[in-house]
Amino acid sequence: MGSPHPFLVSALLAFLAGAVSGLVTWRRPAAARVVAFAFAVLGSLLLLVAAFRALAHPSSAISSLPLVTLFPCTVRLDPLSAWFTLTLALLALAVSVYSFGYLRPMERTRNLGALGFFYNALLLGLALVFTAANAFFFLSAWEVMAVSAFCLVVFEHEKAETRSAAIVYIIMSHAGTVMMLAAFLLLAASAGSVDFAAFHLLASKLPPAEQGAVFLLFFAGFGVKAGIVPLHVWLPDAHPVAPSNVSALMSGIVIKCGIYGMARVFFDFFGPPPLWTGTLVLAVGVVTALVGVLYALQEHDLKRLLAYHSIENIGIIVMGFGAALMFRALGHPNLAAIAIVGALYHTLNHAIFKGLLFLAAGSVVQSVRTRNMEEMGGLVRRMPGTALFFLIGAIAISGLPPLNGFVSEWLTYQALLAGFGTTHSLTRLMFPIAGALLALTAALAAACFVKAFGIPFLALPRSEAAATAQEAEPAMRYAMALLAAACFVLGLGATWILPVFDSITQQALGVPISSSLLAHGIALQAGTPQSGTVSPAGIALVFLALAGTAVYLVNRRLRHARVATGPAWDCGLPGLTSDNEYTATAFSKPLRLIFSAFYRPRREIRPEYEVSPYYPSVIRFESGIEATFEKRLYDPLKDWVFGLSRRMRAIQAGSIHAYLAYIFVTLILLLLFGVRQ
């Protein structure tokens, strides 16, 4: 195969054409739905080919390619970029196909031309963020991505909830960009260039204080986008209010821009970093994963629940990065490579299963017209396809074998476990503790997805809308089937996919990794054959054999036996209704009580009575948990900012003389500064 560049450029042009077609069909929603999203599908396919080519021939794509000669708009598909481009292309393909069906009911009510424009602009921005070869172009692409994501989030702007979520998002996103900008300026000042190639290993050559500043600025700046705790507060508000196809992109790939940035900085700009950086990143990863899953457990809005799980999975990815940084600092590039592979594989896997879950949730929300799980139920009968796809996504995200989530979590566990032997200081205790907390996270995620699948899809419908729900359109189901199949391929075929990482780890750490990750061709191993192996494909094969035998034997028995259906046990009351069912609130109640120190749950029971308090006519019940981060961190910050700006009002007198004086003083100061230089 040849160079990936022609395909990359055509993909970018296809997204550009899609955006333009959105403008052209501004007032013709039916045309916009078909044309704009057809361009998105085309662009995704081309991008997929480009990513495959770049990964197959890493050397052909390292050189950067100027897009426009006037500005330094250069792109580069090095292995790390290609991996994220692949993730983007796969998800964008499925989501764009899904959009054909999903947007059909919106044709009458919505400006789909605008949606098509911003959607393609977002894909264009994402593709450029992952491939930009210099800081200037990267930041420009970043803004295209951030602003078009904002416009997509605010698409259903008539709801106040949507507007406030979008504004919080754009403010926090820009706060992050400022930090990135500062860090890039520090690097550029030292390199004398804004080229990423010039930044390679540069950060480690800076003086320690500056090194720390660059690291922290980048970590926080990209952390806002990725949604690490405590910078995550915008995420669970912004992701659910967007149309569901956009939610899938937001949770699947937009937050991965932060992950891409971290990977670029940690493993390209930095050489072996100081140990504290890894310790910090690992700790933040653990906290992020736990906080994300704990909030998800108490969430009964299906899409918000999924958004909180994005925070959890970002935490798992960041844990991998943290471990890799620590291994680099301690001089174990091979272990660092395993940790990076785990983190990057989880990045792709999370994009796939979270995309799948959001698309399935979107089908449900469109059909039932609510995001509240307590008003769903029994959908497995009305929407069998959607239910099956959601279940596959739920198994994958819970990290259960043999699907893809299991593989990347397994790699992360192995990296953490091996970490214990790398040092003799107390730091080594961090690794198994982080591993145990990862186990807690994964188990809580499984509990949460029992709820997220069980309450909406199983048992009896809890509302009229749920009882009459309609299955999703074929285009939507094809898209979900594509992602569900990818969950299987990435899980069962992990041994065939992992050699791709050779070029990435070679680039980042100078060690190819696949030879130490593959055992006997069919199993994964962690470094050496003795250190532990796993084979999802083998597990699946034996599982099929055992389950097949069991099904055959039991059914042979049952042929001669009586199989009847009857009502489920309802405590002897006549007829089981949906009122008897366990609710999502009840399901998560034990964990709410056990972790009450974290949740600070509040509950209020107010009986209203007319005659005597013993005979209440109405009982009002309210329960909720405290939004700790908003209340204890962001509210004081907001008050401080408002207080400061109130005090600043004193100098904004409105007098033109005062403003002229300000300009004069500024000029003098600048001149003095210039002379001193």
Partner: protein, 313 residues
């Protein structure tokens, strides 16, 4: 390849046949300790035989999840059973997964079981699912930390490797890290197999049951598969505990004589472990559900102490 297939079949048959025996053993021992006659030691075989001969009633609210669950639980547990060293230090399917895969395969079974509990629409099912997932979530970190302590000692998550290292070092199990990890895993074993003081396997009193609540609507062959799966899981966890910590008598090669000796040792050790479970069950009352986290936190602390103790010894 053929050897692997052969050893897998042998171990599978062993799992299927010994698992009900251990359940029966625990029931009989418990009855004797409580000065009852109790059912015979072979009662679980009779129960399974009866269940597989019967017809069944499916709840009309249930979907295909309800039907699929018994097969998933049974198969996932059986595969996990093939990944642990039982009568030889080399587990038949050791290549396909180590201790992490075992934990996660059990998790897969639990995931479906909890879904099946919700699927019936009855309050009990949901109640059981909610409690089961809560306890499992709290048991998991303790279990992993204890397992890590062992895995770090052997520098491997492969159970065959762990057993091999354990057999090669004499009196290894007296190291404080090992003993603390053993204690932690014993507590997890109690929680995971639904024993008193966490759950009562003998009860059908609505408010106290966990595992029984989830499978309340099952009957006939499906119930048989689930019961069988539950006893395999119990045997699996007990064997894991035995062979990771007290592996003496475990042969590392698959030879007939060695296997027979290993089998005798295994059965003896299972007897002792079953007796200690019975002792715990008889001398303790069932805990209030919200006291269980304390027990599991204790297991976590023990495992963490085990890790810290590697600095001291």
């Amino acid at each position: 390849m053929i050897a692997v297939f052969f050893t897998a079949v042998v171990q599978l048959l062993l799992l299927l046949t010994v698992a009900p025996l251990v359940s029966g053993l625990i029931k009989t021992l418990k009855a004797r300790l409580q000065v009852r006659r109790g059912p015979g030691i072979l009662q679980p075989y009779h129960d399974l035989h009866k269940l597989f001969r019967k017809g069944m009633v499916l709840p009309d609210t249930a979907s295909w999840i309800f039907t699929a669950t018994p097969y998933v639980v049974f198969s996932a547990t059986a595969i996990a059973g093939l990944m642990i060293p039982m009568i030889s230090a080399k587990a038949p399917l050791g290549l396909f997964g180590g201790v992490l895969a075992v934990v996660y395969l059990l998790g897969l079974g639990r995931f479906f079981l909890a879904l099946a509990g919700l699927d019936t629409g009855s309050s009990f099912g949901g109640l059981g699912s909610s409690r089961e997932m809560t306890i499992a979530a709290l048991a998991e970190p303790a279990m992993m930390l204890a397992v890590f302590t062992v895995a770090i000692g052997a520098n491997s998550t492969s159970l065959s490797e762990i057993a091999k290292v354990a057999t090669s070092t004499t009196w290894h199990f007296l190291a404080p890290a090992q003993m603390l990890a053993f204690a932690a895993l014993f507590l997890v074993l109690i929680a995971e197999t639904g024993r008193i003081p966490v759950d009562n396997p003998a009860t059908h009193l609505e408010l106290t049951m966990i595992h029984e609540a989830m499978i309340l609507e099952y009957s006939g062959p499906y119930l048989g598969l689930l019961e069988w799966g539950a006893s395999i899981k119990q045997l699996l966890l007990m064997t894991l505990l035995i062979n990771a910590f007290l592996p003496f008598g475990l042969h590392s090669k698959w030879s007939l004589g060695g296997l027979l000796i290993s089998l005798v040792y295994l059965l003896l050790k299972l007897l002792v472990l079953a007796a200690s479970i019975v002792l715990v069950e008889t001398t303790n009352a069932k805990m209030r559900f919200f006291r269980v986290p304390d027990l599991l936190a204790m297991a976590f602390t023990l495992a963490a102490l085990g890790l810290v103790s590697t600095f001291l010894f």
